[in-house]
Every structure is written in C-alpha cells, then in structure tokens.
C-alpha cells in the first residue's frame, strides 16, 4: 500500500491569485527593499509560508525545475508543489530555476545556477524564508530601482550571507536573485542591488 498524502488547496482564484502574486513580486523586484505581501488565500503546508506558496503557484511550472532545502523536502510540501505547479523537484541547486530555503540553511550562492554572460537569465531565483522583515534599519540598499537608498531589516539569515551577496553582485550580469519571505510578506534583492551592512564596532 502506498502512503497517501493530503494535498492542501492552492489559490482560491487561480487566475487572479497568480496575477496578484506576480504583481507583488514585480513591484518588490523593481523596487528592491520595498515590502509587499501576497498569499494564496489558503494555508499552505508547513513549513511553506503564505508568500512562498503564492510565489510558487504563480511562477513555477513544468518548465522550471525547483530545488528544496532539506527542511522543505517533506511529503506534504513536495506533493503540494508537484500537484499545483507540475514542476520537477531536483537534487542539485545548480540545475534549479527556482529554489526554496530558509535563511539559516541558505547554501553558498555560488551553488545555484548563475547563468552565463551571454544568457544571464539562466540563473536561480532563490526564495528565502527568513524570521523577520522590516524597513526600519539594518541594511542599506542602493542600485537600480532605488531613488536614493532603501533600508531593510532581515532577521534569521546565516552568517556571511552579505559578503556572499557582494561577491554575487561582482558577477553581474550573472548571479542569483533573492526573494526574501516572512509569512505573507516579501522583499526582493535582484542581483544589481548593493547591500551595506551596519559597521561592527
């Protein structure tokens, strides 16, 4: 007997839900550090957050292999994503178009697909679930999409990420793009954005 797994519902309205989820991501991606929110309208399987589920159901399909960090590699999650997105779930982050991970488990950014100089779009978009997102301080962002600077607080990411990010930015036009997610909230860091961390005393 095969074990059956309950599949949680996806978008309450698939067409409008996908459009709203995309616009939230587009807005976040074109104005790095701005926080938007999105959800499917139904609670996703643990440990996917509302925004992660809405982003995946809006953008991931059979054309985009997905990599899951070990914390997400659970039957309820893989069944949910395979059923609603129809995507392949793969073992190597370097082959992934999208990836889902937590801030603490985020692999070195160089492990993901980085694209090449002729086709920089062949890179992974990494959805990173963090412990908190805010606009009251922490990081100072600058680059395309930002008038002067934006402030962003990100809680619960592994040590060394921002050094890793600076190296990712050096690769431009290659590099990964991050979508940071907490609950229904999301903020995006496209590869162009420069992140200044507060100086340690």
């Amino acid at each position: 007997m095969t074990q059956t797994v309950g599949i949680r519902p996806g978008f309450s309205d698939p067409v409008m839900g996908a459009q709203r989820s995309f616009r939230a991501v587009l807005d976040a991606m074109s104005r790095p550090g701005v926080i938007r929110s999105t959800s499917t309208g139904n609670p996703p399987p643990v440990p996917l957050s509302e925004a992660t589920a809405a982003i995946c159901l809006g953008l991931v399909d059979h054309d985009t292999p997905l990599w899951l960090a070990p914390a997400f590699d659970r039957p309820e999650v893989t069944a949910f994503l395979r059923f609603h997105c129809g995507c392949a779930i793969i073992d190597r982050p370097a082959d992934a178009a999208f990836a889902i991970t937590t801030g603490a488990d985020l692999p070195p950014l160089g492990d993901f697909a980085l694209g090449d100089d002729a086709y920089p779009e062949h890179s992974t978009t990494v959805i990173v679930q963090v412990d908190g997102l805010g606009t009251d301080g922490g990081l100072t962002l600058s680059g395309p999409g930002i008038e002067t600077t934006h402030r962003l607080t990100v809680e619960g990411v592994r040590a060394g990420l921002w050094d890793d990010w600076a190296a990712n930015r050096e690769l431009f036009p290659r590099g990964v793009d991050l979508i940071l997610v907490h609950g229904a909230k999301l903020a995006a860091l496209p590869r162009t954005v420069a992140v200044d961390t507060p100086k340690e005393d």
Binding site: F22, D63, T125, P144, G145, E147, R191
Partner: protein, 316 residues
C-alpha cells in the same frame, strides 16, 4: 507663426470622440486573452529583465490576433501584467485615438474587462507605440513599450550569435564607430529616433523608435519601463530610478530636437510637435504629438496662435 485653422471645431487633429458605451467583455477567453502557462512564462521573463536592466530576455512569443508590427510584444507584456484593478491607457505616436491605440484599448476592455482612460494621470499601465507621455510618470505607473527591433546593434551586425557576444563582453565599439561616422559625414549624429542608450552603465539598449526628444525622460524615471518585441521574441526592462544615458561624445554631446514654432492649439513650447498639413495650398501647422497633454492644456485655458479658444462643444 500665425496659421489660422480652417477646421471649425478646432479639435486636436487626431481627436476622436470618447467611447461613450462601455465595451462588453467577450466570453470564452481567459482573463487578458493569454493562457496561464504563457503568462507565467512571460512573467518570469519580465522578472529576469528587471533583474538585468537593459538585457533582452528571449521569450516564447505567441501568435496574437493582430499582425506583427501592431504591438504584439507590448500586448503580451501588458496581458501578463494587467489585473482587474488596473486602468489602461494606450497611445500610438502620442495619440490616444489612432487605430492601433483604440483597438488595443478595446482588446483589453473586452478580454480583461479593465477600465481604460485617455488621461495619463489616471492610468496605472500605459502601453505606448513610439512616444513617452509629456506628463511626468509616477511610481504607481508602468510604461509598456511596443518594440519592433529590440537589438540596438542589429543594423550594424546582422548575426544574433555575434550581437549576443558583443553584449556579453560589453563590446560596443561598433556602435560608437557608427555614431562617429555620422559626425564625420554630416557633422552631427543624425539619428533622430531609436537613439541608442546605455542602461545602468552596462547594456546598450534600443529605446524603441521613440524620438530622441523622449530619451531624457527615460533617465531615472519613477515608473517601471517594460519593453516587448513580439516578432523578435524579446522582453527587456528599465527599473525605476535607473540611469539611462544617451550615447554621445564629449565634443558632440547629445541634444534633443527643438522647434521654432509652438503648438498651434495649446501654445505649448515644451512638447514634441507634429507637423500637420491642413490644406492643399501648402498650409501646415504644428501641434502636440501627445493628444492628452494638448487637450489638458487647452482645457486649462492655454491657447496657441493657430486656433480659436477651447469650447465645451469640443467633445471629450
């Protein structure tokens, strides 16, 4: 300039009546015409385009119910972006009421049921063929360009394999040589539209065939700019507040067109003017290319030296 218009109503020459009856949605198509899988593919391309400003992302352009050259790329981008809460404006060479603009507006009214407008300030998405509105755009707006030839180097190098390498290596010498040849032959850079720009100090990009008059408006524009080329199957983007520089030389700096005339209808001195032939005796006048800008100025009481004052019977 003192041309007197023969035209009794003295409307903007391209002015049409506002559609009074709302356009009914047609049944049997997905929201905004395209199927969901196509929209996802276009949406992913748009996100990559935003992440790599000025880079042309290939996408699987679909057959659309209008011919190539009529805005198939712009329509697909708009269809992937638009939602029920959006208000759409479509312009063709600045005017809201030419065949192309009217039909694309009606297309989205019919397939997505969205509100449409001719007022620049009221629109959340503006699809444009070859102009940027005169009124500065805001952070709440998205400008979608219809692009015929997305590759700025195509006239200089026909092979895609080569132009792709040139972009990858940031090797744009051939473009500068082309601009320099203009100077050597004519004493100035003669390109007046589709004038190449450099985006965020990296990619040379075709701004689509907008007049070079509009190039400075692209620089650090608060609105997101998306470009769709349907036949050539490319999408590219300029994020808000991104540096867009027109290519030039230190001793031959970039300049925009200027006119000795003002707009004959609204008297504007700062807008892009079209020359309009008004009779068969060589009579002509210059009017704003941006019909909404001209109308708004006339409603505010501005009068050019070529036309009678605005009256309520002008329609709109």
């Amino acid at each position: 300039m003192s041309t007197v218009i023969q035209h009794p109503s003295a409307q903007h020459p391209s002015a049409a009546k506002t559609e009074t009856t709302p356009v009914a949605m047609i049944e049997g198509y997905n929201f905004a015409y395209l199927d969901e899988q196509t929209k996802r593919m276009i949406r992913r391309a748009i996100l990559k385009a935003v992440a790599v400003p000025g880079y042309q992302v290939p996408f699987g352009s679909r057959e659309m119910p209008l011919p190539y050259g009529w805005g198939t790329g712009g329509i697909q981008v708009t269809a992937a972006v638009i939602g029920p809460d959006d208000t759409l404006k479509v312009i063709d060479q600045g005017a809201d009421d030419t065949t192309n603009a009217v039909n694309i507006r009606r297309f989205f009214a019919k397939t997505a049921g969205v509100a449409t407008t001719e007022k620049t300030a009221d629109a959340s998405i503006i699809q444009t063929r070859h102009r940027i509105p005169e009124k500065p755009l805001t952070e709440e707006q998205i400008l979608v360009y219809q692009v015929p030839i997305p590759e700025p180097l195509r006239q200089l190098e026909a092979r895609e394999t080569e132009t792709r390498k040139m972009h990858a290596l940031e090797e744009y010498g051939v473009m500068h040589v082309s601009l320099y040849e203009d100077i050597a032959t004519f004493g100035r850079i003669t390109r007046s539209y589709n004038y190449p720009v450099k985006v965020a100090d990296r990619y040379v990009m075709a701004p689509s065939p907008i007049p070079k008059f509009d190039n400075p408006k692209m620089n650090r524009m608060p609105a997101l700019q998306l470009f769709g080329a349907g036949r050539e199957k490319r999408i590219y983007a300029v994020p808000p507040y991104t540096k867009v520089e027109s290519l030039d030389f230190e001793d031959h700096p970039f300049t925009i067109e200027s006119w000795e005339e003002n707009c004959a209808l609204c008297g504007a001195t700062d807008s892009y003017l079209d020359e309009v032939v008004i009779d068969d005796k060589g009579g002509k006048m210059f009017v704003c290319s941006d019909s909404d800008y001209c109308q708004e100025r006339r409603e505010a009481g501005h009068v050019g030296d070529g036309g009678p004052p605005h009256t309520e019977s002008d329609g709109r």
